[in-house]
Symmetry: C2
Subunit: 116 residues, 2 copies
Amino acid sequence: MTSPAVSSRALPHPEHDEIRLEDVLHALSEPMRLRIVRELAAASGELSCSHFDLPVTKSTTTHHFRVLRESGVIRQVYRGTAKMNGLRRDDLEELFPGLLDALLDAAGRQAGRLAP
Amino acid sequence: MTSPAVSSRALPHPEHDEIRLEDVLHALSEPMRLRIVRELAAASGELSCSHFDLPVTKSTTTHHFRVLRESGVIRQVYRGTAKMNGLRRDDLEELFPGLLDALLDAAGRQAGRLAP
DNA sequence: CGACTCGTACGATAGGCATCGTAGTACGGT
DNA sequence: ACCGTACTACGATGCCTATCGTACGAGTCG
């Protein structure tokens, strides 16, 4: 009943200085992925993939999480059968100060504007 | 030799409240377009399309400018044979405060980091 | 072991998009 | 009227990607 250990299954992440702005923007330009990132930011912790209830199949969900990971936006790690996801806040903040907050704020404003 | 008047040729732009964050991010996730926007921001005025010396053909350049315009990032207007381009700073700032500056800063940092 | 859950891999499909070349339009100057 | 410049329109091409379904692997719990 102890929380499951981190599995040894490898998940390739870009290093801190391999993160590219274009990739980050491309990752976040997809509504589904932007939504994931917003939820992740709101949770301010790690969330399992299955926590998200997205209007797409599991295959597609896996795809979107991979894009987010490979662009450097999130960090993923296996914990038992679950795969936990967390925002790479520190890396992004150091590379692009203020960007993530501005993006989240922008997304929040637009959401409020479009669905009052 | 007075400066040519604005032509009546129509160029469809999204209205202020038709601008979508996803479209803006998608537009800026393309290196060529991000570069255009950075030059435009640095010039802090209007620039003609032909001012830009991009490593693609003119067809492709036209395409990129159209994407930027249709996403609401820039405003285009004909002035004689030239087509002038300007950043929609005010609209973007009102919709997404701080976002454009954060993006430009991020792009600048990355450029400095990758080409020292 | 066996069943169940979570997530992956792979192939297929359909649509989007960056790019080019060529042919054409709009405008300004001579 | 003519020419040159600036940009566009259109079609083609090849790549990328969002989506799905099915079959499979890894881990947990009984």
